[in-house]
């Protein structure tokens, strides 16, 4: 069963940030509404066209945030025929794309709206504290693992131990990503950055330095997906969903089978097979960069290089502007923005690249883009392959 070309992304929207914060002290519902309106305008559709709603977030908890697709629909005045609050962490939105395409293919909805918002920076709600020590977290939180950085740091140490990967190779990723951010006027961090800067930034959790870690910002994003039939009448040219896969291998880091391999090995394989494309055919890549190590492990797990070769793969600024592997072209979670669940912004940037709307950072002649989300502590992944006509 395949959802190849069953649905197309026809609209994207987001909100501008100032020093990582939303403007005018907007609430998390206000920014989602603004992003939704922009995405629908981008598509040439109206609110009343939406019959499928997909929302995940970490706002309003404990409380109404437990029911995000319901609460957001109420706020927007939408009564959907298809509703999905799938929450698997930052990769949720790549999963939503697959779920929406399947629902559209089945005729269960025609116009799907995927939404996310976060005001974690404005609210100063982000800490390194673990989750409440109940159920499976009772075996983790009492030991003070900084969350999530400590778990990713352990993955980095294991990779270094097994394969000899070096801190400066991880730093290559942060530096290349910053170069893309310097081409994006909306990126939060645009100052010049060197490998030395990364390696001399404060250690957070060995071996990860401050500049190996993503930003903590606000943000909101929206995506509109429609059937092939509805795509004909939209304002923008369709960006087709060619393939999608999703998986998760664990929640707590102690249950991760192999700290050097993510479930992108499973979700990526399905996405590639569904799309019927090879690695060489991918023009531009967006990979979840919560930490530099996330990128390196995902590149390996997706099969862009062999296990253990990720450090060499990213060396010599290969993923920077002008390199032969354009990666995280908006500046990524490391330098553009990271509101907590970053995955929707990977999709938005992939669409802008394929539509040639990316301005100074445009990768020329991009026809096929791969998007790989990661959530939790390397726990969940979802991979989407997108293409234009």
């Amino acid at each position: 069963m395949s959802i190849k070309r069953a649905a197309a992304i026809v609209g994207v929207g987001d909100v501008e940030l100032e020093k990582g914060k939303v403007k005018h002290g907007h609430s998390v519902l206000q920014i989602q509404a603004i992003a939704a309106k922009r995405a629908l305008e981008d598509a040439g559709l109206s609110k009343d066209d939406v019959d499928g709603i997909f929302v995940a977030g970490l706002w309003g908890l404990p409380g109404i945030g437990s029911f995000p697709s319901v609460v957001v629909s109420e706020y927007l005045g939408i009564q959907p025929k298809y509703t999905d609050s799938t929450q698997i962490g930052g990769s949720a939105f790549e999963a939503h794309v697959g779920h929406a395409a399947a629902a559209i293919q089945s005729g269960l909805c025609e116009v799907a709206l995927i939404l996310y918002g976060s005001t974690q920076r404005s609210e100063k709600s982000r800490t390194l504290a673990g989750r409440p020590p109940v159920l499976t977290a009772q075996y983790e939180t009492p030991y003070g693992l900084p969350s999530p950085a400590g778990a990713y740091a352990m993955a980095a140490h294991r990779h270094m131990h097994q394969y000899g990967t070096r801190p400066e190779q991880l730093a290559e990723i942060a530096v290349a990503t910053r170069k893309w951010a310097q081409l994006n006027p909306h990126a939060t961090m645009r100052d010049h950055l060197t490998i030395e800067d990364v390696l001399t930034s404060p250690m957070i959790c060995d071996p990860l330095h401050l500049l190996d870690c993503c930003l903590v910002t606000d943000g909101a994003g929206a995506i509109v997906l429609v059937s092939a039939e509805r795509a004909k009448d939209c304002r923008k040219k369709p960006v087709w969903v060619l393939g999608q896969g999703e998986s998760h291998s664990h929640w707590s880091i102690q249950a991760m089978p192999d700290l050097t391999v993510t479930s992108a090995a499973v979700s990526g394989k399905r996405a590639f097979e569904m799309a019927g494309v090879t690695h060489d055919e991918i023009d531009v890549v967006q990979i979840y960069d919560s930490f530099t190590i996330t990128v390196l492990l995902t590149l390996e797990s997706l099969g862009f290089c062999k296990s253990g070769e990720g450090g060499d793969f990213v060396s010599n600024q290969r993923t920077a502007p002008g390199g032969d592997f354009p990666l995280n072209t908006n500046g990524g979670g490391l330098s553009y923005a990271h509101p907590g669940m970053y995955g929707i912004f990977l999709l938005i940037e992939a669409v802008r690249q394929l539509r040639e709307e990316a301005g100074e950072r445009q990768v020329k002649n991009s026809k096929i883009s791969l998007v790989a989300g990661t959530g939790g502590t390397l726990s969940s992944t979802s991979v989407v392959i997108l293409g234009r006509d």
Partner: protein
Amino acid sequence: MIEKPLPIPDGDSDVFWQGCKEHKLLIQKCEDCSSYIFYPRVLCPNCFSEKVEWVQSSGVGKVYSFTIARRPGGPAFKDEVPYVVALIELEEGVRMLSNIIDVDVDKVDCDMPVEVVFQVEGDFTLPKFKPRAI
């Protein structure tokens, strides 16, 4: 002074935490497929058998991976930094998260041999690990 987060025991974990109080590191073993299991569950995640029994681990293992927390994992750990959080692979084959104590944090490495020690924290006794001379 913010108190450290302590386990909130449940039907899966009561026996485990009681064992720690008695300085026994209890893990589970499936009577049907012989898999060792940690954390404790009502059934075997390998074969779904409900015949899971408690066995005492040797408490001996090695560091699968680790990090040195230079920033605390929440305000309760502010006075502890730098401290080591590690994934311990017990010789029975299961992995558990813990701290490595009584060690120069910069001397910890992957595959380092360790053994369990029990540390009282509030009303609980937590299994922690220290370097093991071999």
